[in-house]
């Protein structure tokens, strides 16, 4: 490790780079924190050593003859060119080796697939490019987004310790309990992977896959989306916090309360009017977090994939249409429905922002009540 690190410093190419605080990388698969992950690790090491031994034998013989049976030593080549006995032998031995590998593999696989009798069930939904978690036993659900600031990614600020592996709201699970994950997706295929649990399962749109984990150690575990899911596939981390059952219980209650409170606030908001400054500042924040990935920070989109909002007819003229597409998305395109993801306030703010930023100077304000009206079908 140290050798390669010093090597990096010696590179002229470093001129380009921002300061990098490299943490040490493990050289092997993690043992993880579940019984299953431990089994997977053992399996991995078993096959690995078997391959090493076979390799050592085969390459050993090969290098031996490279050294000994070279023309430069004046040897006469032998002329043999078959031997049924040997050939049968070296067909049979690998078969036996494979059987030895297959037995523990089969056992582990069957254990992994048994999702019955779970204590907690979480519905995990991937969408471009965030995860949504919904606890099926409580009223708790939320989105989980990358928390690394853009400035770190474009090398303007120094990168933090958990660069690209941090989220705004992590998933929380209890220790010592069997947690069942139900995976699905709203758009393309994603894959939910936490190495420490040895869980990697594809989230297929329209279908639900199952996986499970029983974590014994409280702690923070990080993972990433593991299926190419479009532009920001690399920016879709997973963070799971395992808490003792009591702490977990407390957290669930707190969450439920928070969500209920937000709903109540929402109602109050309908009667209030926000100022342009407030709308614009909330709007900008929301836009950067939720919309800029596709429509770009400058509102110009990526021609051919994501339309520009700057100068868009919808964003300049048709208010109800604008609200509608943000609320409900457009099926069959990457444009998602945000009614579920954002509060009324945020939606109102982001729409106001889109109608007044980057030269879209309509001067119009959109209030939470307007959004609510469209939601109730009274927009026209």
């Amino acid at each position: 490790m140290t050798k390669t690190r010093s090597l990096r410093w010696s590179l002229p190419t470093l001129l380009l780079a921002a300061t990098v605080d490299a943490t040490d990388m493990p050289l092997n698969m993690t043992k993880g924190v579940t019984e299953i992950s431990q089994q997977v690790y053992d399996l991995h090491m078993t096959i690995f050593w078997i391959c090493c031994v076979i390799g050592a034998v085969v390459f050993g013989i090969m290098f031996w003859s490279i050294v000994r049976h070279r023309k430069a030593r004046g040897v006469q080549p032998a002329q043999f060119h078959e031997s049924t006995k040997v050939e049968i032998l070296w067909t049979a031995i690998p078969v036996l080796i494979l059987i030895v590998m297959a037995i523990p593999a089969t056992k582990t696989l069957i254990a992994m697939e048994d999702t019955t009798e779970a204590d907690v069930t979480v519905l995990v939904t991937g969408s471009q490019w965030k995860w949504h978690y919904k606890y099926l036993d409580n009223d708790v659900e939320f989105y989980s987004l990358l928390a690394t600031p853009k400035e770190q990614i474009i090398n303007r600020f120094a990168k933090g310790d958990n660069y690209l592996l941090e989220v705004d709201r992590p998933l929380v699970i209890p220790t010592g309990k069997k947690v069942r994950f139900l995976m699905t997706s709203d758009d393309v295929i994603h894959s939910w992977w936490v190495p420490a649990f040895a869980v990697k399962k594809d989230a297929n749109p329209g279908f639900i896959n199952e996986a499970w984990a029983r974590v014994d150690e409280p702690g923070v575990y990080r993972g990433q989306c593991a299926e190419l899911c479009g532009k920001d596939h690399g920016f879709m981390p997973i963070v799971v916090i395992a808490k003792s059952p009591a702490d977990y219980e407390q957290w669930v209650n707190g969450e439920a309360e928070r969500i209920a409170k937000a709903k109540a606030e929402e109602q109050e908001l309908l009667a209030m009017n926000m100022s342009m400054e407030e709308l614009m500042s909330v709007g900008e924040r929301t836009y950067t977090a939720y919309c800029a990935a596709c429509h770009q920070p400058n509102g110009e989109g990526l021609p051919g994939i994501f339309p520009a909002l700057k100068g868009s007819a919808l964003a300049l003229e048709n208010i109800p249409g604008h609200i509608d597409i943000v609320l409900n998305g457009k099926t069959g395109t990457a444009m998602q429905a945000y009614a579920k993801q954002l509060s009324l306030k945020e939606i109102a703010a982001v729409i106001t922002y889109e109608r007044n930023a980057w030269g879209n100077n309509t001067g119009e304000l959109v209030q939470a009540a307007d959004v609510h009206a469209v939601m109730q079908g009274k927009g026209e």
């Binding site: 390669t4 013989i61 474009i154 279908f207 990433q224």
Partner: protein, 527 residues
């Protein structure tokens, strides 16, 4: 010797048409072989340049040179170009040059179609490369173009991608038909099945695989096209389809496809090792049977790419066992090569060096393949750099090394000159060292948890990625030596004898070097 065309006996004796028309209108297997090889080399450089973009961006964490969307286009097109534009055409070029010479045929069986198979390829890749310049960019959904990322969520270039894949498919199918028919029908008298050189055997089986799976690829891209543009829902649950259906059809093609890229390599190594060990190939018959079993098994293992898609346990077990079984016939091959060297009298010219490197490094790639086959472990490896390490070992130090070995081995036969041995050795050692710097650390990066197809990564992976990138640049630069050797050899050099290598045996070594424009105008007799 009598001539190829009736009544034109002497006119056609080694008479090459001149000018550009020679290449555009040609029906000569050697010309077409040359064009395939040159095309493949150009594509290797274009695909390689894209890999350099990938490595440059991954040199450091953070986004430096390209946008994520462009990065995805680079990985996608890099994969497509290397697979369909570099490796496959290179093998087809070798088949064109060598198969007729090895079996004593006057040319390929269907010479005009042969020309057509070649010439549609540059157009297919022209379309693919042009799509990069469309608004929204080229294909960015990986060379495996999983739906619905490639359907509902893809850019406008998807249609161009689909049609260019159709054309590549047509080209491969026609090329494969030509190879099969040539081998079935044009063998010289006495060239019985079990006397055919292994390169011919492996290509025969490869051609069979091509005919079986390329149409399936055509089918699946067609479904992508209709899903995106014509409202069908093959890969959409709301309409009763399934995104995973895409993966089944794709990998039914995709897995045999990877063997399409390695079986001819086995043939090449099986030609080179006996030559430089001065000893007959060990276990000829078992080589033939092993190749056939690999081909047949390859139809039963496709879902090992899909262990995480949520297939039922019984399915996963079936595919795991079948995949593991492939190690057996492949092992037979490796053991046979080693046994061929055993008690030979070896020399180590450049082709042999690449062949030896092939044996070791391909086997390492095979071992990691075997690890990937173990389903529970694959859950940890899947879609990480461990997989990237695996397939670059089998593809770069496997397929590409074998192609380079073949080029050195047969260059004197093609050009009539010996290549520069010293430069060749430089090329070998530079490539060997840099390629391992490039791909070996990827195993560790993958095990430590770095997903593939990401333009930016967590800080812990920084050191290794920097090292890998340096290896990549060095490996790329090393290939410039190769071009130098090729150009030098084409222009001149020590005259090559007919046999070229002391230990070489086979029909191709009995005709003069360079091989005459029309090799066998009457069938030679093999006793």
């Amino acid at each position: 010797m009598s001539a190829v065309v009736t009544d034109h006996e002497h006119e056609h004796h080694d008479h090459k048409p001149a000018g550009i028309k020679r290449w555009l209108y040609t029906t000569n297997h050697k010309d077409i072989g040359t064009m395939y090889l040159v095309f493949a080399l150009i594509m290797f450089f274009i695909g390689g340049a894209m890999a350099m973009v990938i490595r440059a961006e991954l040199f450091q964490p953070g986004m430096q040179f390209v946008e994520p969307n462009f990065f995805n286009q680079m990985t996608t097109v890099h994969g497509l170009i290397m697979v369909f534009g570099a490796v496959m055409p290179a093998f087809t070029g070798l088949a064109n040059w060598m198969i007729p010479m090895m079996i004593g045929a006057p040319d390929m069986a269907l010479p005009r179609m042969n020309n057509w198979s070649f010439w549609i390829l540059p157009f297919a890749f022209l379309i693919l490369l042009m799509s990069l310049f469309m608004p929204g960019g080229g294909p960015s959904f990986g060379w495996t173009f999983y739906a619905p990322l490639s359907t509902t969520y893809s850019g406008d270039s998807t249609a161009l991608f689909v049609f260019s894949v159709h054309i590549m498919g047509i080209s491969s199918i026609m090329g494969a038909i030509n190879v099969i028919v040539t081998i079935f029908n044009l063998r010289a008298p006495g060239m019985t099945w079990m006397k055919m050189p292994l390169f011919v055997w492996t290509w025969l089986i490869t051609a069979f695989l091509l005919i079986m799976v390329m149409p399936v690829l055509a089918g699946v891209v067609t479904m992508v096209l209709t899903d995106k543009y014509f409202g069908t829902s093959f890969f959409d649950a709301a309409g009763g389809g399934d995104p995973v259906l895409f993966q089944h059809i794709f990998w039914f093609f995709g897995h045999p496809e990877v063997y399409i890229m390695i079986l001819p390599a086995f043939g090449i190594v099986s030609s080179i090792v006996p030559t430089f060990a001065r000893k007959p190939l060990f276990g000829y018959a078992s080589m033939v049977y092993a190749t056939s079993s690999i081909a047949l098994l390859s139809f039963l293992v496709w879902a090992h790419h899909m262990f995480t898609t949520g297939m039922p346990v019984a399915g996963a077990l079936f595919f795991m066992y079948c995949t593991m079984l492939i190690a057996v016939p492949t092992g037979v091959k490796v053991f046979n090569w080693v046994a061929t060297m055993w008690r030979g009298a070896m020399t180590f010219e450049v082709p042999m060096m690449f062949a030896l490197a092939f044996i070791v490094l391909f086997t390492i790639g095979g071992f990691s393949g075997l690890m990937l086959a173990i389903t529970p472990a694959d859950f940890q490896y899947h879609d990480t750099y461990f997989v990237v390490a695996h397939f670059h070992y089998v593809l770069v130090t496997g397929a590409v090394f074998s192609i380079i070995a073949a080029a050195y081995y047969w260059l004197p036969k093609w050009t009539g000159h010996m290549y520069d041995e010293k430069l060749g050795q430089w090329h070998f050692w530079c490539s060997l060292i840099s390629v391992n710097m490039l791909f070996f650390p990827m195993h560790f990066v993958g095990l430590a948890g770095m997903p593939r197809r990401i333009p930016d990564y967590a800080l812990q992976f920084a050191d290794f990625n920097a090292f890998i990138s340096i290896g990549g640049f060095l490996f790329g630069a090393s290939q410039l030596i190769f071009v130098w050797v090729l150009v030098k050899c084409a222009r001149g050099g020590k005259k090559a004898t007919a046999q070229v290598w002391e230990g070489a045996e086979g029909l191709e070594w009995e005709v003069p070097s360079p091989a005459p424009y029309h090799t066998f105008e009457t069938p030679p007799v093999i006793k």
